[in-house]
């Protein structure tokens, strides 16, 4: 049975013991002076400091010191730990939890060898009777070898490890290590963290507590002078012409190095290098590389942009999906009799769209033909007020099927009746802002997917457009306002319906009421609204490890094949998503033999390519000791009731301290009454 303390920090209070000792040494002077007939003789008596420091009233001092010590002990909550909380077998002296970073960055040349050496060094220092565990982590952590005396198993488990393509997060690793260390049941535990000290990995580490009774040691395996080049992103322009497609790709390459770096970047489709460009980068620079357009079969679904290998090869390739947004047909519905001035800007904006490439069918009518609805992915209506009420039903069905409708308010009046009810917002009266030299777009939802490309330029680009007139939109309760004018009135309103979306804009898409079509932002805005309404925006060229991709609604049952060949069945009633755990191409197919219905290109996380490191001391400092843990009882598994019983000592200590204080008061009172002679008159 061993004595432990629940709140050992209170032992600091023992320092208070100095106080009574000092009091008794100092011979405390009473505040009121003693009136004495004459100091004539006292002045002649030499005053010796040594004698002042002689301890006086030693019994009183003993009482006071004991009372203080008992009070401190009571507050420290001592308790006896039962022997059965200690290891049951063996002379175990120490438990070591080896935590190995296996993130993508650990694939840097030579780093993984250092990891093996470090683990062997840790294992080599262990003594017979010690226990060890191995935890591997990247974005998540797992116990590779549980805590046990078999050190050979730990070495074997280490051999099976290799760097993954995932990012690094220290918090889950330390939490899991704490849990493993807690299993040490009362012996001293040590957590050895073997990592390359990536700064980004320490995010959130300050929220992790260190298990009391454990020590954390960080073994750095970071490269001495890291230099790395990586592919940042790529832009793809794909035009399908019959059974082939022209592919134009540009990619951005970044380096983190103190010296210039030369290599080559290549475009690979179906394992064949179709284009290559030499590149010479300055230290710590970013450069864009453009490949000459190449012709590929229209059925090709993926491509890879590859960089010449460097010390960290995992981020030297960028996987892309191709073609999913090609061949999109858009119907542009103009009012009957409308002039070219009314259609010019919309037609041009849609015609030159590359991502996605659009086929524009221009119709002058108040209704949309069924044939057009069948082939179009999106309908763009130049004047919502000219739309016939008869079109509402077919358009509604079109949206339910996943189609998108973008309507501009036009300049012909207002919407009424069935049309008003169907639209996300009824188009009402005209607001004239000519008196105040035109209104502006005062607010856009920067986080909305439709406006994602404008995130960095929303204030400047959209703010330049002047709206001299616009319609007053009255959104219904199911709609979302994506943007507002500077007077607070809605400018763009969206409503989702079925699988598609309807978006209405409060101004015409010509230059009669506003100069928006003359602004640079007009073309991408129209293209983005159409792509968003048609559900094409989400077709991302690639994802990064750890992200989640949405699976298509059909077919209901899918098989996911991951880059390493693993298969997973997705049932109809399960979540239609897939978590990307490794870099490569994920495929979703109806069954294993069928052609994929969706492909997802997954690349490494950009943060993992940043090898900027944090100090080992900083990591240790970030992990704070747990305030409420039990000292000396790592892994103690006492129940609350047992702990309460074991800690009842503090009551007795407190009672003893109170008794001592009472005795001290009595004794001090007697000393004062009997030993003090008052000066002056009575």
């Amino acid at each position: 049975m061993g004595l432990s303390l629940l709140v050992p920090a209170f032992l600091i209070g023992l320092g208070v013991l100095v106080v009574p000792i000092l009091v008794h040494l100092r011979q405390r002077e009473s505040k009121e002076p003693i009136r004495f007939p004459s100091l004539m003789f006292l002045r002649r008596v030499p005053h010796r400091t040594v004698e002042r420091r002689r301890l006086t009233h030693r019994l009183l001092l003993l009482l006071r010191a004991l009372a203080v010590a008992l009070l401190v002990a009571a507050f420290a909550r001592p308790f006896f730990q039962r022997d059965d909380d200690r290891p049951l077998i063996g002379p175990t002296r120490r438990a070591v939890v080896v935590v190995v970073d296996r993130s993508m960055s650990m694939g840097y040349r030579g780093v993984w060898d250092r990891v093996r050496d470090s683990v062997r060094a840790v294992v080599g220092r262990l003594q017979p009777g010690d226990r060890a565990a191995l935890v591997a982590f990247d974005e998540t952590a797992e116990v590779v070898a549980p805590l046990g005396p078999d050190l050979a198993a730990l070495t074997t488990a280490l051999a099976s490890l290799e760097p993954s393509g995932r990012g690094t997060r220290l918090p889950p690793a330390v939490r899991l290590a704490n849990e493993v260390a807690a299993g040490a049941r009362g012996v001293d535990a040590e957590i050895v963290l073997i990592t390359d000290l990536q700064r980004s990995a320490a995010l959130g580490l300050e929220s992790v507590d260190r298990l009391s009774g454990t020590t954390i040691r960080v073994a750095s395996v970071a490269p001495d002078d890291p230099a790395n080049a990586r592919l940042v992103d790529a832009e793809v322009d794909q035009r399908v012409e019959g059974r082939r497609a022209q592919l134009a790709v540009s990619a951005r390459v970044a380096t983190k190095a103190d010296s210039a770096w030369a290599s080559r970047v290549s475009l690979i489709v179906s394992g064949r290098e179709l284009a290559a460009v030499p590149i010479r980068l300055k230290p710590n620079a970013i450069q864009t590389v453009r490949f000459e357009p190449v012709w590929i079969p229209a059925t090709e679904a993926t491509a890879v942009v590859a960089l010449g290998p460097d010390a960290l090869p995992a981020d030297d390739s960028l996987r892309l999906t191709l073609g999913s947004a090609t061949g999109v047909t858009v119907v542009l519905l103009l009012p009957p009799g409308s002039g070219s001035d009314e259609s010019l800007y919309l037609e041009r904006a849609l015609a030159i769209s590359r991502s996605p490439a659009l086929t524009v069918l221009t119709r002058r009518s108040t209704t949309v033909a069924t044939a057009d609805l069948d082939r179009a992915a999106a309908i763009v209506v130049a004047d919502a007020t000219s739309l016939s009420t008869r079109s509402v039903g077919s358009l509604d069905a079109f949206v339910d099927r996943g189609g998108g409708v973008v309507l501009f308010s036009g300049r012909r009046g207002t919407t009424t009746g069935e049309l008003s009810r169907w639209l996300p917002a009824a188009v009402g009266r005209v607001i004239d802002r000519t008196a105040d030299r035109g209104g502006r777009l005062g607010q856009l939802d920067a986080d909305h997917p439709a406006f994602e490309p404008f995130k960095d330029a929303i204030a400047s680009d959209f703010g330049a457009a002047r709206f001299f007139r616009y319609h007053e939109l009255t959104p219904d309760s199911a709609s979302i306002v994506l943007g507002r004018f500077d007077d607070g009135r809605p400018a763009i309103v969206e409503r989702r319906g079925g699988g598609g979306r309807v978006v209405v804009v409060a101004a015409p898409a010509d230059a009669s009421w506003s100069d928006l079509p003359l602004q640079p932002v007009f073309l991408p805005l129209v293209q983005r609204l159409v792509a968003h309404a048609a559900g094409l925006v989400e077709n991302r060229r690639w994802f990064t490890v750890g992200e989640v991709g949405a699976l298509p609604p059909e077919p209901s049952s899918l098989t996911i094949v991951d880059p390493s060949g693993g298969k997973r069945r997705v049932a109809a009633d399960s979540s239609r998503t897939v978590v990307f755990g490794e870099p490569g191409i994920y495929q979703a197919m109806a069954d294993v033999a069928a052609a994929p219905v969706a492909r997802f290109a997954v690349n490494t996380a950009p943060a993992e390519s940043d090898l900027a490191s944090i100090g080992a001391d900083e990591i240790v400092a970030l992990i704070k000791p747990a305030a409420d843990s039990v000292s000396g009882a790592a892994g103690s598994r006492l129940t609350i009731a047992e702990q309460e019983r074991a800690q009842s000592w503090w009551i007795m200590l407190l009672a003893a301290a109170i008794l001592l204080l009472a005795a001290e008061a009595f004794y001090a009172g007697r000393l004062q009454a009997g030993g003090r002679v008052l000066g002056g008159a009575r």
Binding site: P33, R35, F36, S38, G675, A681
Partner: protein, 300 residues
């Protein structure tokens, strides 16, 4: 002569409770004399004392003619004194006299003692006077047979305070004492012994018999304090940090040396010096005074 009296009546703590100083004085004297079993009018007598040869200037009425008839020589017949002496009580009222570790301060003790002695002297037929002094003379009651009440009243009104007694104050008292007589000093003598010796010596030169009572509180001698404290001088207000435990022994030796110096110095000047413990009964002081007064009772 035995030292009798009733200790109960002469206990200073008991006497201090009696507000009327006249009553105190009377109680003390009568109680004391009752214990002695002697007549209260000592020295006042027509009894024959001695014969001495006639000298020119002597009153011829005092020639004893019977002796002349037998011896044919002129002798003067001397009697016990039948004329009253002037007794002046000089009581120290400096700040230090306000100290008392027991139930009686030195001032209260001195006041009761002076009152008792004055009462006693008055009933001897002496003229009694009073001087209250500190660093200077504060009150003066000229000696007279009718001034006992005034003397007691002045004593009652007196309050100690102010600076210590100096030789200058004693010198000033000397100037007040015109006729020869007895001067009784009551003080705690926190002064330089040599200065006191010189000052009181001057009083002696004027033909006065001097009795010096030295009032000492027990705490002044023993320094019985335990805790370190700041001590405040009751005369100057100065303060001094004192650790009694470490300074006591040296202090006691200094005080003893001071007392010895006073006793030696004053005795050498013909001053009758008596140290009185203020915790002791008043009979010792009365006895000493009585003894001294008896020896001075004869007028030659």
């Amino acid at each position: 002569m035995s030292r009798g009296g009733s200790p109960g009546f002469l206990d200073p703590a008991v006497l201090a409770r009696i507000g009327d100083l006249t009553l105190v004085a009377r109680t003390v004297v009568e109680g004391f004399m009752h214990g002695l079993h002697r007549a209260p009018r000592l020295g006042h007598s027509t009894d024959f004392a001695e014969h001495r040869p006639y000298q020119p200037g002597d009153d011829i009425r005092k020639i004893d003619w019977r002796v002349f008839g037998r011896t044919d020589r002129y002798y003067i017949k001397e009697f016990e004194a039948d004329t009253n002496a002037s007794v002046v009580f000089a009581v120290d009222v400096s700040g230090s006299m306000d100290f008392g570790s027991g139930r009686v301060t030195k001032w209260q003790y001195a006041r009761m003692l002076a009152a008792a002695l004055a009462w006693f002297s008055q009933h001897q037929g002496d003229r009694v006077g009073l001087v209250l002094y500190g660093d200077a003379i504060r009150e003066y009651v000229p000696p007279s047979t009718r001034h006992l009440s005034l003397l007691l009243h002045t004593l009652e009104r007196g309050t100690p305070g102010g600076a210590a007694v100096g030789a200058e104050a004693i010198g000033a008292i000397t100037e007040l004492l015109g006729r020869t007589g007895i001067t009784v000093f009551l003080s705690d003598w926190y002064v330089d012994p040599s200065g006191v010796k010189e000052a009181l010596g001057q009083v002696r030169v004027r033909g006065h018999d001097v009795i010096a009572f030295h009032l000492v509180d027990p705490a002044e001698r023993s320094l019985p304090y335990d805790e370190a404290a700041s001590f405040e001088d009751m005369e100057t207000g100065d303060r001094l940090s004192v650790v009694p435990a470490s300074q006591r022994e040296r202090y006691q030796s200094l005080v003893t040396a001071h007392h010895a110096a006073l006793a030696d110095g004053l005795a050498g000047s013909g001053v009758d010096y008596h140290r009185i413990d203020t915790s002791a009964a008043l009979d010792l002081a009365l006895y000493e005074y009585l003894r001294q007064r008896e020896s001075l009772g004869r007028v030659r």
